[in-house]
Symmetry: C2
Subunit: 343 residues, 2 copies
Amino acid sequence: MTDNDNNKIPTQPVTIQDIAQIADVSIATVSRYLHGHLNRMSAETADRIARIIKENNYVPNKVAQNLKQKTSSTIGIMVANIDDSFSIELYKGAEECLFKLGYELVLINSKGDAKRENQLINDMRNRQLAGLLVQPVQNKLADFKVLSDLGLPTMLLDRHLDEHHWPVIESNNEAISRDLGQMIIDKGYEEVIIVTETVAATTSHQQRAKGICEIVEAAGLITHIIEVDENHFDGEAVHTQIGQLTNHRQIKTALIALNEPLLIQLVGLKIRKNVKYPQQMGIVGYADTPMINILDPDLTLVRQQPIEIGRRAAQMLVAEIRNEEVAEDSVIINAEIIAGNSL
Amino acid sequence: MTDNDNNKIPTQPVTIQDIAQIADVSIATVSRYLHGHLNRMSAETADRIARIIKENNYVPNKVAQNLKQKTSSTIGIMVANIDDSFSIELYKGAEECLFKLGYELVLINSKGDAKRENQLINDMRNRQLAGLLVQPVQNKLADFKVLSDLGLPTMLLDRHLDEHHWPVIESNNEAISRDLGQMIIDKGYEEVIIVTETVAATTSHQQRAKGICEIVEAAGLITHIIEVDENHFDGEAVHTQIGQLTNHRQIKTALIALNEPLLIQLVGLKIRKNVKYPQQMGIVGYADTPMINILDPDLTLVRQQPIEIGRRAAQMLVAEIRNEEVAEDSVIINAEIIAGNSL
DNA sequence: TTGTAGGCGTTATCAT
DNA sequence: ATGATAACGCCTACAA
């Protein structure tokens, strides 16, 4: 190769200045070229600039652009539990959409801890984000002062607050749970045991429990709720508790896990204790990893569309960031019941 | 409250200018304050600035800082498979370390696709990253021109390339696999079936297979390798294949999954086919989620330390970014064998 | 069609 | 102890 510039080791960044100089035009012209204002210059100029940009491998400095335009290309997504594949799927949906549009996605994990959630949001203050996607741990707007003070375009994922303030993209939790309740009734169950997290502050779980209980209790079934600490699941204790609730009477019982980590625990319990379903007991849960079906293809599941939730939220967020007219406010993405043989 | 400035709706960002003006000093002084050069100003000035910063809720604009300092506070982490919890753990380790130090972590998923990997790296060019953590899909430095051309501080995670170019933080794959091989020999197995991905371009898997085979074949055991497409796992086919390799002869066989997704598949198969271990067949795999043990607490596993790998890589990356003396080059993080009852 | 110049918010050098 | 001021790389009226 005749021109040996290409072989320079970590060649230090080329700027719009350099390009302008080499092309013998002003930076304004180069800038215009970069922004596609080709009608504001001669064809030759455009060609020359194009060539020189390519030759010099120039790419504009996004930090400078951001400073000038008072925006940033970074969007934050705060999930409640990075170990729950639901959260990862939210991320995947959002990322897929945002990366294409030139944004980077910064993933933050609140670990289901409200204090940490607020702390992290506060840390975001000087991070110059363009917007925020939040799967909130808290459910009271009043507690979210840090977030509202941020004044950033924000979308809520999967859960909502007591007051409307930001658009929410979530599943039809209550409705699908009523469907599930009806299904349980139709299959002749007489008793329902719901396994949920101790601190069921999340609206998604509240709505699920509500939907199921309303329908099922109206039909005269007995309902129990077992609250467990997801991070310190005690299989034996839960097994005992379930036994106490059911064994003594000969009643047809359905066991419901309100999220995937809990369902995995229950399935593990079932495998270990060698429980036969649906003969001994029906099992169903809210879960989204394909993995769970690998382990047990027979499982009846409530499947949401976390990827779609993430995607929609991302679209809406970008629309708001760009100040385009926001056609829709909150959005419901329907979940569905995947019928297996476990219920 | 008497001062009603605090009640303004999305108050637009306060700048160092504003602070200087209110405090009746120059921005230089404010800047000095911000950087802790308190000895370069009077105590009263410092106090006043401190108060005004607090009152006005000022926080410096990181984009401007980055532009000025020609750095950014964003670090990219490209993982091979976001659906493999190993990758998520890498992220967690890195994030935990980096967030504290004031960096944001952008998560990118190459999906095990070399072409996509190069594409994504190329997209990173104008993103002004401070550094990059990469769990590479490719294993040839020559194919990684995009990455080396980036000229960014980079650390490789979990896998290395044919030539040394960047520091690597990885497990002691070959050694731990030899240990595993020895364990299999000691337990009296006569045959080994290794289940691995079709395109085992990743050095981690190569080393695992190598370590096992070397030891085991030296001891006269028979070894088979079943290559599967992780994304299109055909349980029946694999089951048949295993059957063909074993059923006809009465031989004590150990089944080894070289990563977690594959192990989950095998465990699912085992559960469905109701295989008893270790009587009928031994099972062991490389896996890191606690989840797998929830489903089957008896599993013998090779457990790596992905969080530690991520953490170390992050530390080293930051050291390089800051041009501190890098004490160490590549690093090995030891894996260990968790003895269960499945082997 | 093209160029000039001011400014985005900070940092840091050089004065005073 | 403090203040001007020139960058950093880019965008964009406003001129020409």
